[in-house]
């Protein structure tokens, strides 16, 4: 009971901090998923192309990004990127670039799997009609792959909302960072964690429901 009152107290006093963190997390997730998707599509195009060397390179990169901890990748970009470029880079930029690259690896796999899940007979039929490659992809394969891809892409967005919390390690603005701000100001760790958990849950729960609705709409239309 005391904890509940104390939690409410923390919330009423510090809600603008949490709100700021929430907006930062939403913005970061959106930017990361948007650019991660664009880069991921590019990567999957290379991965599925006939240029075996580049396809192999992308495959290795993607396996590597999926096979190492995201936190490690964040540290790596945080320290390595300024060194490689040879000038100061705002840490926000390094962190967001690392998140985008990591996300693109997952999106690449989502697209590859979605495209390869389309019945090979569809490609054969289009080829036998004499359709050229660009039309086979744009008019036959991708429209059918979309319904495999979109739900998984929605889940990737939900995942990214949670993963951006790692950015707080570097004091980059996000929801998890607001915990550290409140905690340092009030010394009320448990209370702010409870608030954060509820906010994160509300966020991911609503997003997955939205993804679910979208999914059903799509399934109905195909």
């Amino acid at each position: 009971m005391t904890l509940l009152i104390s939690t409410l107290g923390v919330f009423t006093k510090y809600w603008p901090v949490f709100l700021q963190g929430l907006l930062a997390t939403l913005l970061t997730s959106f930017v990361v998923v948007l650019f991660g998707t664009l880069l991921g599509i590019l990567l999957s195009t290379i991965r599925l192309s006939k240029y075996k060397l580049f396809a192999g390179l992308v495959e290795t990169l993607v396996s590597f990004l999926r096979g190492t901890p995201l936190l490690l990748q964040l540290y790596f970009f945080y320290f390595a990127l300024p060194q490689i470029v040879g000038m100061d880079i705002p840490k926000e930029v390094s962190i967001i670039m690392a998140l985008i690259l990591n996300s693109s690896a997952y999106v690449c796999e989502i697209f590859r799997a979605g495209i390869q899940a389309v019945d090979p007979g569809q490609r054969e039929a289009a080829e036998s009609l004499g359709m050229r490659e660009k039309y086979i992809m744009l008019r036959i394969i991708i429209p059918q792959a979309i319904k495999n891809i979109l739900p998984a892409l929605g889940n990737e967005f939900v995942t990214m909302i949670k993963e951006t919390s790692l950015a707080s390690t570097f004091y980059v603005a996000d929801l998890m960072t607001s915990y550290r701000i409140v905690m340092n100001a009030s010394y009320k760790a448990v209370e702010s964690l409870i608030i954060l958990a509820l906010v994160y849950f509300a966020l991911t729960y609503t997003s997955s429901r939205l993804v679910g609705v979208l999914e059903r709409k799509l399934m109905a239309s195909v």
Binding site: D119, G121, Q122, E124, A125, A126, E127, S128, L129, G130, M131, R132, Y135, R139, I140, P143, Q144, V222
Partner: protein, 243 residues
């Protein structure tokens, strides 16, 4: 009669398995050629090589005077003139019946929408599917899907039609409606190569029957030769089993 497809010493393997062991054949304009034989004999692979859905390891396919192997750049142009119908229909599930038919003529033959639609309606009328024009394929029966697949291929105005076991995936009561469409095509003089297990049908519509076994054409001749008076022991053995 001019030669439409000349097949020269075709060889194809999948790994260690040699599926085609040197097949040569000539398909002439207006011919209806049936390919029969036990499963695994290479019939479907042979047919799929004719429009390079399978790439032969060696040999050549001369279509309308040009080597498909050498003229890779124009492969899609050549394929437009070689219609193909598959065992599992492979209609496009995300497109309506009409769009299934008009998509490729509009994209690749630059037909206007009006021309393409008129042509599609005419063809659908012929196969009795005009009332399904706005329906999506998931609402069609197997027989209707296969008739749609035939119309889709015909809309490209092909010089030859390849059928790969077109009735094998159909419920028995739907076989006839599809075979009737193919008979109709044959009567109009379409050049047809068909892989089939329907022996009665092969006998009825073919000018020529090829019996394949173990990656080779073992025996060929008129339907009467093959069905009533087979010479090769393997042909005899196969026909005894299926007839």
């Amino acid at each position: 009669m001019s030669n439409i497809i000349e097949i020269k010493n075709l060889r194809k393997g999948f790994g260690d398995l040699k599926v085609l062991k040197g097949v040569s054949e000539t398909i002439k304009e207006g011919e209806v050629v049936s390919i029969i034989g036990p499963s695994g004999s290479g019939k479907s692979t042979f047919l799929r090589c004719l429009n390079l859905l399978e790439k032969p390891d060696s040999g050549d396919i001369i279509f309308d005077g040009k080597s498909l192997i050498e003229d890779k750049v124009n492969l899609s142009l050549h394929r437009q003139k070689i219609g193909m119908v598959f065992q599992h229909f492979n209609v496009f599930p995300h497109l309506s019946v009409l769009d299934n038919i008009i998509l490729t003529p509009m994209l690749e033959k630059k037909l206007s929408k009006e021309e393409a639609v008129n042509q599609a309606k005419e063809l659908l009328e012929q196969v009795g599917l005009l009332d399904k024009i706005d329906v999506f394929p998931r609402k069609l029966s197997g027989g209707q899907k296969q008739r749609l697949a035939i119309v889709r291929a015909l809309a490209m105005d092909p010089m030859v039609m390849l059928f790969d076991e077109p009735t094998s995936a159909l419920d028995p009561e739907m076989v006839k409606e599809v075979l009737e469409v193919i008979v109709g095509l044959a009567k109009k003089g379409m050049t047809i190569v068909i892989v089939t297990h329907e022996m009665g049908f092969a006998k009825e519509i073919s000018n020529r029957v090829l019996f394949m076994d173990d990656g080779q054409i073992v025996e060929q001749g008129s339907p009467q030769d093959i069905f009533d008076n087979p010479q090769n022991p393997r042909t005899k053995e196969f026909l005894e089993k299926v007839l």
